[in-house]
């Protein structure tokens, strides 16, 4: 099941009354949406508030969401509009160039985010990154290769299976075991 397909299923579950499914959608996209909102407001606390508001708006509008576009594209527009409305209310101009509110893939979010990172965020992220790298270094070779090909190279399970010359089921198992091992070592940092 692709990410978009799983999003569609999650949306349908929310529309049938499953709040846990919406929680999953929030978990999946909260970082992307906060990073997006940070393009409009410099204050991280305010960005969190706007992101929260955007998700609540989306939840309330979700019963009318027909699925013509991907959930994230729809969510992206809601977040941009919420941020713009906030700025309009505060009579302030956006701090950066206008983003295309129709296309979430038109800009390099990660690269732009670096400009507005706070020292606190950088410290925390560096700490987490170092912990994860240490955990990966301690993994057996097959697990380490599998998780790196997946997370850093963005390969599909099928592609990893071909690269590592093993069945897809083995790839699935190796990636899970890698994550589980890493999670046990860095658990306190991700909670």
């Amino acid at each position: 099941m692709s990410n978009q397909s799983s999003d569609k299923k999650l949306v349908k579950r929310v529309q049938r009354g499953d709040k846990g499914a919406f929680d999953l959608l929030v978990l999946k996209y909260q970082h992307k949406i906060v990073n997006l909102v940070m393009r409009y407001v410099r204050d991280p606390e305010l960005a969190l508030d706007i992101t929260q508001e955007a998700f609540i708006k989306a939840y309330r509008a979700l019963p009318r969401f027909r699925g013509d576009s991907a959930f994230y594209t729809w969510m992206y527009r809601i977040a941009v509009n919420t941020a713009k409305n906030h700025l309009a209310a505060q009579r302030r101009r956006p701090m950066n160039v206008e983003l295309d509110s129709q296309d979430p893939d038109q800009y390099d979010l990660h690269a732009q985010l670096r400009e507005t990172d706070t020292p606190e965020a950088i410290t925390l992220s560096n700490e987490l990154k170092e912990a994860v790298e240490n955990a990966i270094a301690a993994l057996p070779e097959d697990l380490r290769t599998a998780i790196i090909l997946r997370e850093l190279e963005g390969m599909s399970y099928e592609e990893i299976a071909q690269t590592m010359e093993c069945p897809v089921g083995t790839v699935r198992s190796r990636i899970f075991r890698a994550r589980d091992a890493i999670n046990k070592k860095i658990g306190s940092l991700t909670r």
């Binding site: 397909s5 799983s6 049938r16 969190l48 309330r60 019963p63 992220s125 912990a131 990966i136």
Partner: protein
């Protein structure tokens, strides 16, 4: 292992359906998703705003206050302000329809009742026997009783009327009555029961 594959979008549909159902009810499973996503971001060196991981909790707390059934019930509906005038018209139309159907039902009931009544009357008429002339003693009894009843006012007007008529006239055979009664007196004659 399923959650890991789900995070990567690699879980087969049949397994994903079941997992989504479980995750919808199990916050711990959802937390595991969050952890796996965090590992990926950390590996890629993505920097997050502090507190972003709490957004889903804040959103959950907000939407928990509002029953989702309410939101679903309003799905696809126009805003409340737009509904109000329509709601008034709908109520008026409903009342009008109820009145029409109610009237039709009453009419049909009346008609059927009338038919039933007519049938029963006809049946009664068919079985009706023309009373024979009372003998003098019995007639006197009725006259006395009618006068007493009138005096005590049991059935006021009716009693008076019957008493008056019986005291003024002698009961006649209906056949004779039809033949002898003058046309102008017809209205004043008591009707047969």
């Amino acid at each position: 292992m399923q959650i890991s594959a789900f995070v990567d979008g690699e879980l087969p549909d049949n397994e994903a359906d079941l997992l989504l159902r479980r995750m919808g009810q199990d916050a711990e499973l959802r937390h595991r998703v969050a952890e796996y996503l965090a590992i990926g971001r950390a590996l890629r060196g993505e920097i997050s705003v502090p507190g972003v991981d709490r957004i889903h909790e804040r959103v959950s707390a907000e939407i928990d206050d509002k029953p989702l059934e309410d939101l679903i019930a309003t799905a696809g509906s126009p805003p409340t302000s737009a509904i109000r005038p329509l709601a008034g018209a709908a109520v008026a139309a409903t009342v009008a329809l109820l009145a029409i159907f109610g009237l039709q039902q009453t009419t049909s009931v009346d008609e059927s009742d009338a038919k039933t009544l007519a049938g029963s009357v006809a049946a009664t008429d068919a079985g009706y026997t023309v009373p024979q002339p009372l003998d003098e003693q019995l007639r006197q009894y009725y006259m006395s009783h009618g006068a007493t009843a009138t005096e005590f006012g049991a059935n006021g007007i009716n009693s008076r009327f019957v008493s008056l008529r019986m005291s003024e006239e002698t009961l006649q055979d209906p056949a004779d009555d039809e033949e002898t009664a003058p046309a102008e007196d017809t209205e004043e004659q008591p009707t047969q029961p």
